[in-house]
C-alpha cells in the first residue's frame, strides 16, 4: 500500500472532489430533515398567525414530507451502495486505506439517513394527528 504514491494531480483532485461529495452526503440526510422541520414549523407558525388556510398548508407539508422521505431514501440508497457491505462484509471500516475511508463515509451516511428518516416521520405525525391552529 505504500509504493504507489506520487499520484498525478488530476487523479488526486478527482478523488478529492468525490470525497468532498461524500462528506457532504453525510450531512445531506440530516439537512433534508432540518429543511423539512424548518418548513413545517415556519409555515405553520405564519399560517396560524396570519389566519391562512391551515388545512391546505397541512396537506402541502405532508406532500413535502413525502418528498423529504424520498430524498432521504435516495441518499440512503446511494450511501448503502458506497458502503458496499454486501460485497466487502466489512461492518467496521477501520482500515487505513482510501477504500476503507470511502466505505466508512458511505456507512455513516447510510446510518444518518435512517435517523433522518425516523426524524421526518416523527415530525410529520403532528400534521396528521392535530387539526387546525388550536
Amino acid at each position: 500500500m505504500t509504493e504507489e504514491h506520487q499520484p498525478r494531480r488530476d487523479e488526486d483532485q478527482k478523488e478529492f472532489a468525490e470525497e468532498q461529495a461524500s462528506l457532504f452526503k453525510i450531512t445531506l440526510a440530516p439537512l433534508i430533515w432540518a429543511a423539512h422541520f424548518a418548513a413545517c414549523y415556519g409555515l405553520v407558525a405564519v399560517t396560524c398567525a396570519k389566519g391562512w388556510d391551515i388545512d391546505a398548508v397541512r396537506f402541502g407539508l405532508l406532500v413535502a414530507s413525502g418528498a423529504a422521505l424520498c430524498g432521504i431514501g435516495w441518499v440512503g440508497l446511494t450511501a448503502w451502495r458506497q458502503w458496499n457491505v454486501a460485497q466487502t462484509g466489512d461492518f467496521v471500516n477501520r482500515g487505513g486505506r482510501a477504500e476503507d475511508r470511502h466505505h466508512f463515509l458511505g456507512h455513516a451516511a447510510f446510518l444518518l439517513s435512517i435517523i433522518s428518516l425516523i426524524g421526518v416521520v416523527f415530525v410529520s405525525l403532528p400534521l396528521v394527528l392535530i387539526g387546525g391552529c388550536q
Binding site: 462528506l23 453525510i26 435517523i115
Partner: protein, 853 residues
C-alpha cells in the same frame, strides 16, 4: 481562474514505506534534534510563565479556572439549598436568593460547562492527534484570558450584591426593566465570554480538520475528535443567535430601543426564541464532549476497539442536527398552536434515538471486550445510571401534556440535574481520573476516588431524586421560600442534606486533585493501556507535544502499530527537528490527512494578554455606561490585535519549503483554502452569518407576530441611499477580489490602487446605509429600531473590513504581502464575501420590505 502562486507543492515519497520507517536514526542525531526541539518549545519560566501559549499550559489554566468557577457556583447552590431547607426561611433575602440562583445557572452554563469542554479539548486534542499544538496557540491564550477576565467580572458581581437576578434565561421584560447593572453584567460579560467560546470552537474545528497526523483518515480519527468537530459546529450555529439576542437586548437596555417591549411593537417572545435556539443545543454542546470522554475510556476498559464506530459517529452528528429542533419544548406553555408544539415534541422524542445508540454502542463494546474495571469506569457507570434517568424523564417531558404540569417545577430541576450530572459532571470527573497521568504525569488516589464517587453519587440521588416528587406535588422553581404544610417541607430538607453530601464528595475529589504528589514514584507511560496517541506522551514531561509526528494507519495505533512508539521516540517520523528554532506543526488534508504544509505556530507573548485586557475593557465599561473608556479600550484592543497579526501571522518564510523527514519536502507557506487561517476565517464567518441571520429572523418574526409591522404610516429607510449602499458594497467586493487577483498576477500597483479604493467605497456604503435610517426614531417603535440594528451590524462589520483592507495595503507596501505570499488578502476577501452578502440582504430588507409586507 486564479493563477497559481508559484509556491512549491509537497514533494517526495508519501506514504512512507516500511523500509523507510525501519531505518534507525543515529543516536547523536536524535539527541541534537531533541535538544533543538526542546529549546524551541520551552515553556517560559518565572513571571513570564503567563506569556505561555502552549496548549498544555493554556489548557491547564483553562480547566482550573473553570473548576474554580464551578466550585463557586456550587457554593451558591449550597446556600440556595440551605435557604430552602425549611419553609419560610430567612437565611438570605429574596433579592439575594434571586441573584444566587441566576448566577448559579449562568456560571454553571457559561463559566463551567462550555468552557470546560473547550479547556479539556485544548488540553487533550493535540495529544490525541499527535500534533505539537493547536494551529493558533495565541488564539487559545487570548480566549483563555478573555474567559478569565469576563468570568471574574460576572461572578464577582455577586460579592457586590450587584449580580444579575432575572434568571439565567434573562427573560424580558423582567430583565430589561430590571434596575441596577445586573442585567448588563450578564449581557456584556457573557457576550464577551461567548466570543471567546466561538474563538475556541474555531480553533478546535480547524485543529481537528487540518492538524491530524499523516494517514489519519476520517474513518480512523479518535472518536473524541469526531465529537469535537460536531460540537464545534454546533457552537457555531447555537451561540450566534444568543449573541444577536444580546445585541438587541443591550440596545434596549442602553438606548431604550423597544425590541422586547410590547407597548412599542416589540415582543418578549423573540428573546425566548433566540435564547432557546441557543439554549437547547447548548445542552448537547455540554453533553456530547463529555460522552466523548466516555468513548475514549470504554474501549480502554473493554480492551478492544469501540464497537460500532460508525454508529457513534452517526449518533454524534445526528444529535447535533436534531438538537436544533427542540428549542420550543422550553416554551410549551407560551400558548403557541398545538401543531407547532407537536413538531417540537416529535423532534424531542427523535433525539432520544441517537442518544440511545451511543449508550448501546458502549454496552456492545463492553460485551465484546474483556472488561477490566477501573476507577474512571466507576464514574462512567455512575454517569450512565444518572443520565439514563434524566433521559427517561426527558422522554416524558417531551410530551406536551405532561410538560404542561411539570414545566417550571422542581421536576424540571431534578430532570436537568440528572442530565447534566450524568451527562457532564460524572464523565468529566471520570476523564480527570483517566487523563490525569497524561496531564500531570502523576496518578490520583484510587481510594479517595472511590470515596468521592460514592459520596457524590449517593448525595446526588438523595438531593435530586426527591425533587421529582416535590415538583409533581406542585412546587414551582425559582422560589426563594415556600409556605409550610403543602407536603414540600421534608422533601426539601432531604434535598438539602443530599446537597451537602455532594459537597463532601466534591471536597474529596478536589483535595485528591490538588494535594501535593511530589513523593509519588514516576508513573508508567501508558498506565491504563490505552490505544490512542495521547498515551505516547513523554514521562517526565516534555513541552514539544510529540517527539515526531507519526504516520497513523489504525484507530488504535498503540495497539495495532507495535513499532510505532519506538520510532516516534527516535524521531523517525515527521518533523523530528526544529532546525530554525521555530515552533512548527504539520498541516494535513481534511479527509485523508495527507501532509500538505509545515505550519509555523506562534510562541509565548504578552500581546494576547494586552489584547484580552483591552477587549475586556470594551465589554465591561459599558456596563457602567462609561462609553468613552470603553471606546478607547476597544481601539487599543484593535491595535493590539493588529500588532499581533502583523508580527506573528502569515510571515514570509526564510525558505519556501523544508524537509520534514522521511524524504518529504513540504511548503512552509500557503494561502487561500490550503491554509489554516483561511479555514478559520471561513468557520468564523459562518458563525457570524448565523448571528446576522438571527437578526433577519427577528425582522420577520415581528412581521409574523404582529399585525401592524411595519406600522401604518411609519417612516421607512430612504430608498435612494439604500440603492447607493448596495451599489457601493458590490463595487467594494469587486475591488477587493480584483486586488487579490491582480496581486497574484504580479500587477502590484493596480492591486494597491484597488486596495486604496475599496476601503473608501466600503466606508461610503456603510455611511449611505446609516444615512438611509438616520431620520428614523429607533426608540419610538420596534420597526425603526430593527432597521437601525441591521444598519449598525453592517456598519460595524464594514469597519472591520476596512481595517483589514488597509492592513493588506500596508502589507503590500512593506513587503509582507507579495504576489507569492498573499494569504492575508485571501482571508480578507473571504471575509468580504460574507459581509457583502449580509450587506446586500440588509439592503434588500430595508429597501424592499416596506413594499412587500
Amino acid at each position: 481562474m486564479t493563477r497559481p502562486s508559484g509556491l512549491p507543492q509537497p514533494e517526495g515519497p508519501y506514504p512512507p514505506t516500511d523500509e523507510m520507517l525501519a531505518e534507525p536514526v543515529p543516536k547523536d542525531v536524535q539527541e541534537a534534534q531533541a535538544k533543538r526541539l526542546r529549546a524551541a518549545w520551552e515553556t517560559p519560566k518565572g513571571w513570564r510563565y503567563v506569556t505561555a501559549v502552549n496548549n498544555t499550559e493554556v489548557g491547564k489554566w483553562y480547566c482550573l479556572t473553570a473548576l474554580v468557577f464551578m466550585l463557586l457556583a456550587g457554593v451558591m447552590a449550597l446556600i440556595i439549598r440551605l435557604q430552602l431547607a425549611v419553609p419560610e426561611n430567612d437565611l438570605v433575602s429574596a433579592d439575594r436568593f434571586n441573584q444566587l440562583f441566576t448566577m448559579h445557572g449562568s456560571a454553571m452554563m457559561f463559566l463551567f460547562a462550555v468552557p470546560m469542554f473547550e479547556a479539556v479539548s485544548i488540553l487533550l486534542l493535540p495529544g490525541m492527534l499527535g500534533a505539537r499544538d493547536m494551529p493558533f496557540p495565541r488564539l487559545s491564550a487570548f480566549g483563555y484570558w478573555c474567559f478569565l477576565i469576563g468570568g471574574v467580572f460576572v461572578i464577582g458581581s455577586i460579592f457586590f450584591d450587584a449580580a444579575p437576578r432575572a434568571g439565567w434565561f434573562m427573560y424580558p421584560p423582567l430583565a430589561t426593566e430590571d434596575e441596577g447593572p445586573g442585567s448588563d453584567i450578564w449581557l456584556l460579560g457573557l457576550s464577551f465570554i461567548e466570543v471567546a467560546s466561538i474563538a475556541a470552537a474555531v480553533e478546535l474545528i480547524v485543529g481537528t480538520l487540518k492538524c491530524r497526523p499523516p494517514g489519519m483518515r476520517v474513518n480512523i480519527m479518535p472518536l473524541y475528535a469526531w465529537y469535537v468537530l460536531v460540537v464545534g459546529g454546533m457552537i457555531l450555529f447555537a451561540f450566534p443567535p444568543l449573541i444577536a439576542g444580546d445585541f438587541l437586548f443591550e440596545l434596549e437596555r442602553s438606548f431604550d430601543w423597544p425590541f422586547f417591549d410590547p407597548t412599542r411593537g416589540g415582543d418578549p417572545m423573540l428573546w425566548q426564541h433566540l435564547f432557546w435556539i441557543f439554549g437547547h443545543p447548548e445542552v448537547y454542546i455540554i453533553f456530547l464532549p463529555s460522552i466523548a470522554i466516555a468513548a475514549m475510556i470504554i474501549p480502554t476498559v473493554a480492551r478492544r476497539p469501540i464497537f460500532g464506530y460508525s454508529w457513534i459517529v452517526l449518533s454524534a452528528v445526528g444529535t447535533g442536527f436534531l438538537s436544533f429542533g427542540l428549542w420550543v419544548h422550553h416554551m410549551f406553555t407560551t400558548g403557541l398552536p398545538s401543531i407547532s408544539l407537536g413538531f417540537f415534541s416529535a423532534a424531542s422524542e427523535a433525539v432520544v434515538i441517537p442518544t440511545g445508540i451511543q449508550i448501546f454502542a458502549f454496552l456492545a463494546t463492553l460485551m465484546a471486550g474483556r472488561v477490566k474495571m477501573t476507577l474512571p469506569m466507576l464514574w462512567i457507570s455512575g454517569a450512565l445510571a444518572i443520565f439514563t434517568m434524566g433521559g427517561l424523564t426527558g422522554v416524558m417531558l417531551a410530551l406536551a401534556p405532561f410538560d404542561f404540569q411539570a414545566h417550571d417545577t422542581y421536576f424540571i430541576v431534578a430532570h436537568l440535574h440528572y442530565t447534566l450530572f450524568g451527562g457532564m459532571v460524572f464523565p468529566v470527573i471520570a476523564g480527570v481520573y483517566y487523563f490525569f497521568p497524561f496531564i500531570q504525569k502523576r496518578l490520583m488516589s484510587d481510594r479517595l476516588g472511590k470515596w468521592a464517587f460514592w459520596l457524590t453519587f449517593s448525595g446526588f440521588n438523595l438531593c435530586f431524586l426527591p425533587m421529582h416528587l416535590t415538583g409533581l406535588w406542585g412546587m414551582p422553581r425559582r422560589v426563594y421560600t415556600y409556605p409550610g404544610g403543602l407536603g414540600w417541607d421534608w422533601l426539601n430538607l432531604i434535598s438539602t442534606v443530599g446537597a451537602f453530601v455532594i459537597a463532601a464528595g466534591f471536597a474529596t475529589f478536589v483535595w485528591d486533585l490538588i494535594r501535593p504528589k511530589h513523593k509519588q514514584a514516576q508513573i508508567p507511560r501508558n498506565p491504563w493501556d490505552g490505544g490512542t496517541l495521547e498515551w505516547t506522551h513523554d514521562v517526565p514531561e516534555e513541552a514539544w507535544g510529540v517527539r515526531s509526528i507519526p504516520h497513523v494507519t489504525t484507530r488504535y495505533p498503540l495497539w495495532d502499530q507495535p513499532d510505532m512508539l519506538a520510532r516516534l521516540d527516535a524521531g523517525r517520523y515527521y518533523l523530528p527537528d526544529a532546525e530554525e528554532g521555530k515552533r512548527e506543526t504539520l498541516v494535513t488534508s481534511v479527509i485523508d490527512a495527507e501532509p500538505v504544509q509545515v505550519q509555523r505556530v506562534t510562541g509565548p507573548t504578552w500581546i494576547t494578554l494586552w489584547a484580552a485586557a483591552f477587549t475586556g475593557g470594551a465589554f465591561i465599561f459599558p456596563t457602567f455606561s462609561w462609553y468613552t473608556p470603553a471606546t478607547i479600550s476597544g481601539a487599543l484592543a484593535i491595535c493590539c490585535i493588529i500588532w499581533w497579526l502583523w508580527t506573528a501571522t502569515a510571515q514570509v518564510p526564510e525558505a519556501d519549503s523544508k524537509d520534514v523527514g522521511l524524504g518529504l519536502r513540504l511548503p512552509t507557506y500557503s494561502a487561500g483554502p490550503a491554509s489554516v487561517g483561511w479555514w478559520a476565517i471561513w468557520i468564523t464567518m459562518l458563525g457570524d452569518a448565523t448571528a446576522f441571520a438571527s437578526l433577519v429572523f427577528g425582522f420577520f418574526f415581528y412581521w409574523t407576530a404582529s399585525p401592524d409591522f411595519p406600522p401604518d404610516g411609519a417612516a421607512h429607510a430612504v430608498p435612494g441611499l439604500i440603492a447607493l449602499a448596495a451599489a457601493a458594497f458590490a463595487v467594494n467586493w469587486g475591488l477587493t477580489v480584483g486586488a487579490r487577483q491582480l496581486n497574484r498576477a504580479g500587477r502590484v500597483t493596480p492591486a494597491r490602487i484597488c486596495l486604496v479604493g475599496a476601503p473608501l467605497v466600503a466606508a461610503a456604503g456603510a455611511a449611505a446605509l446609516i444615512y438611509a435610517v438616520v431620520e428614523l426614531e429607533p426608540a419610538s417603535h420596534v420597526y425603526p429600531a430593527i432597521l437601525w440594528a441591521l444598519a449598525i451590524w453592517i456598519a460595524v462589520h464594514s469597519g472591520a473590513g476596512v481595517i483589514m483592507q488597509v492592513y493588506c495595503l500596508a502589507g503590500s507596501l512593506f513587503g509582507k504581502l507579495t504576489p507569492r505570499y498573499d494569504a492575508d488578502i485571501w482571508n480578507v476577501s473571504l471575509f468580504w464575501h460574507f459581509v457583502t452578502i449580509s450587506a446586500l440582504v440588509t439592503c434588500a430588507v430595508l429597501g424592499l420590505a416596506p413594499g412587500a409586507l
